[in-house]
Amino acid sequence: MSDPLLQVRDLRVRFGHGEGGSQVVHGVDFAVGRGEKLALVGESGSGKSVTALSVMRLHDPGKVEYPSGEIRFDGRELLGLPESLMRGLRGREIGMIFQEPMTSLNPVQPVGRQIAETLVLHEGMGKTAARRRAVELLELTGIPEPGRRVDAFPHMLSGGQRQRAMIALALACRPKLLIADEPTTALDVTIEAQILDLLDSLQAEFGMSILMITHDLNLVRRFADRVCVMQAGELVEQGEVAGLFRRPGHPYTRQLLASTPERMITDDRPPAGEPLLEGRALNCHFPVRRGGLVRRRVGEVRAVDDVDLAVAPGETLGIVGESGSGKTTLGMCLLRLQACRGEIRLAGESLTGLRGRALRRQRRYLQVVFQDPFSSLSPRMTVESIVGEGLRVHHPEMDREQRRASIAEMLAEVGLEPAMMERYPHEFSGGQRQRIAIARAVILRPRLVLLDEPTSALDVTVQKQVLALLHDLQQRHGLSYLFISHDLRVVRAVSHRVLVMKDGRVVESGTTEELFTAPEHPYTRRLLEAAAVEDPA
């Protein structure tokens, strides 16, 4: 390409001035050609978003400096450009879409007005013309009934629709370059596939270039022409997607590619025996109320609708479904953390009628690990008191020394150093925090652990380690897992059996291999297609 649209040369980005600052991007060179789709891929902290924000010059100039580098966009040098000219560029020539459409759209303004505002500002359109154009744009992005949706507030749209509105907003002025920062991470797989198709077709139609920032290699493979791999602020490798994926040159790229979860369950037959945990005719309905003072009940949301399930000792039951399918609510019901109707039996004993002390005694056998390792550990407790809390409740006979000894042993088992006991959660990375959460759950020697998206917030390489740890613990302690996830590849890697949930109901269940190779229900087929889970063969 002789004249790329965007040319970044030797870009260095530094946060903070003077000695206290730290450089986070160390000399990055890449170019985006006209009409090209480039993916910038890397794990959290690799500097990919920082690099992209530098192109838009969206960093706070008081906090960020650029020791070296140039960013040429369409023949203009952006780093030295005065803010007033930069403002004209943003939105008009370079559009941007973000990960979380809820926070990037203004919640108190109808989406149509937000799009029209951009048009009035940059294109000098009249108000009625801008509104007409906003409806067209919404239609272009595939939002149903755009004439009505143009007046909708962001909270009235679904996640996918919001992201479409965000794309409409970014494309309002026909930018030459669209920067998409993890545009589908917050969305369900079926929606993700639709959004990617949409971006693809719009890119062809508008002839624009796309700079896609993502951590998802699968997405890169499907979407991008070329890919740049970033690690710790350096661009370690770049090239055509197909070639690079086939023959990765840099060890880090190889590691990333090898991090796709592989099946760990060697024995396909689910462990036999009496079911450890059973749920029969579970129902959890939330009333929907309207009105002011009296709040009439106008309907209900069936979060869990007549679900039966059983988990054998040592078995992993995967529960998959999109957001809102009721999989987390089901898990909370089974642990008696959410009120529900139906019967729950643990090792033949009914949990349904238990209250107070009797229920608390049973709780040690059912533990939980959550998705977000940042909100699942109390920020003001040390690792020792977090992991040891269960021991204090269920083993009051232990003294502090005994407790410390068993905490140390547990920490070593999850791959952390016992010396870390004195520290606080904020000193740990996401993966380490998740290990602490696992230690907290397993130290009580539970029989079943509910894993609610335990790896969704983690980078792929860390995800692989955590999955291996979970598998290891299962082997060693004969644990049963209820593994809730929206990521089909992960579920396939760890589960013996899988339940597919949709709108609170189980639409299909079966052993993992059967379900993945020969899905029966059309919804399961749609899910698998959208996730593009290739056969490992």
């Binding site: 206290g20 608390r360 005694r361 380690q465």
Partner: protein, 354 residues
């Protein structure tokens, strides 16, 4: 396959959040020095009976030692004619205990808050002199002594009021936030009703029914002083109880009180601590205002408000109003600086390099 430990050993563990907060507080110079100054003033105030008293600390009379500030002696003990307690400012007593090898050590300011100086040269209120450094009030009592004692009473009262108010506020907010739902709904309505009661009228009514005392004031002000805080604690608890770590604790079988105090309260302490100095200064101001209006403590108790109202009555006696004003403003200013420092210290986004 065993995953390898991911953290390097030997890395110095970062300090506990409390220690970091203290470090941030120290970095906020104004707040830090204000805290020291306030602490020194408070300690001096607590030593008021030794620093400012009309009775000598030690008297040596005819080879025997007397301690008038801890025990009262009749005048006859020092060769006087009266059976009543000795007045150590009486020239006669003073002469008996300071001549013929007898000696007495007086406190630096030889006046107590309620001792009347009958020997001033000017009519009361008397201007500052070598004897009464800040003059006397309209009954001839030493202003410095009354300021010192008044400061202590105000601060102690404010501390007690703050502790009680904070305690009730935390408890009410915690219960509402944790249990939520209907309990929260009714409690909120109760607070609205309670909060709309006219506090000042109640005080006036009670002041006429009961004999005014500092304890009555404490009870009455405590009844109304907790509401502002409970809202903040409630909000923090409402936010916290949906956090995953609370669900995890529930899944572990931790009881509700333990969850509230071990998991939720430490995270709800930020608004409590931040408001603390402002609450104390508010309480001092409340006591002063009530005293100024004559609804507060009985006249014998040393109080800043009463001194201010004397200053208003005797506008030409500048030493009354000016000195009280300086003490009051100084105290409030110190507390506000401390509060400012605390707020910075508890702002976890701030980092202090060490």
């Amino acid at each position: 396959m065993r995953p390898t430990a991911v953290v390097k050993t030997g890395a110095r563990p970062a300090a506990a959040p409390e220690r970091q907060a203290w470090r941030r507080f120290r970095a906020h110079k104004r707040g830090y020095y204000s805290l020291w100054l306030f602490a020194i003033l408070f300690v001096l105030g607590m030593l008021a009976p030794v620093l400012s008293n009309d009775e000598p600390l030690v008297v040596s009379y005819q080879g025997e030692l007397y301690f008038p500030i801890v025990q009262s002696y009749p005048e006859t003990a020092f060769g006087g004619p009266l059976e009543t307690e000795a007045d150590y400012h009486d020239p006669f007593v003073r002469e008996r205990i300071t001549t013929d090898g007898n000696w007495a050590i007086y406190p630096p300011n030889p006046h107590s808050f309620d001792s009347i100086n009958y020997f001033v040269e000017h009519p009361n209120p008397a201007p500052p002199s070598a004897d009464n450094w800040l003059g006397t009030d309209d009954r001839g009592r030493d202003v410095l002594a009354r300021l010192l004692y008044g400061f202590v009473v105000s601060v102690l009262f404010a501390l007690a009021l703050t502790v009680i108010g904070t305690g009730i506020g935390i408890l009410a907010g915690a219960l509402q936030g944790y249990f939520g739902g209907r309990f929260d709904l009714f409690f909120q309505r109760f607070i609205e009703v309670w909060g709309s009661m006219p506090e000042l009228y109640l005080l006036i009514i009670f002041a006429s029914i009961f004999e005014p005392s500092i304890w009555l004031l404490l009870v009455l002000l405590s009844l109304f002083g907790w509401m502002g805080l409970s809202d903040y604690v409630r909000a923090e608890f409402l936010r916290g109880r949906n956090m995953d770590y609370v669900t995890a604790a529930r899944a572990m079988g931790v009881t509700a009180p333990a969850i509230m105090f071990r998991h939720l309260l430490p995270n709800a302490m930020v608004p409590v601590l931040t408001f603390l100095p402002f609450r104390i200064s508010g309480a001092i101001l409340a006591l002063t205002s009530l005293d100024f209006l004559g609804l507060g403590v009985p006249p014998s108790t040393p109080s800043l408000g009463e001194l201010l109202s004397q200053g208003k009555e005797n506008i030409e006696a500048w030493w009354l109003s000016v000195s009280t004003f300086v003490v009051l403003v100084g105290t409030l200013l110190l507390l506000i600086f401390i509060g400012e420092g605390l707020r910075e210290a508890l702002d976890v986004r701030r980092r202090v390099r060490t």
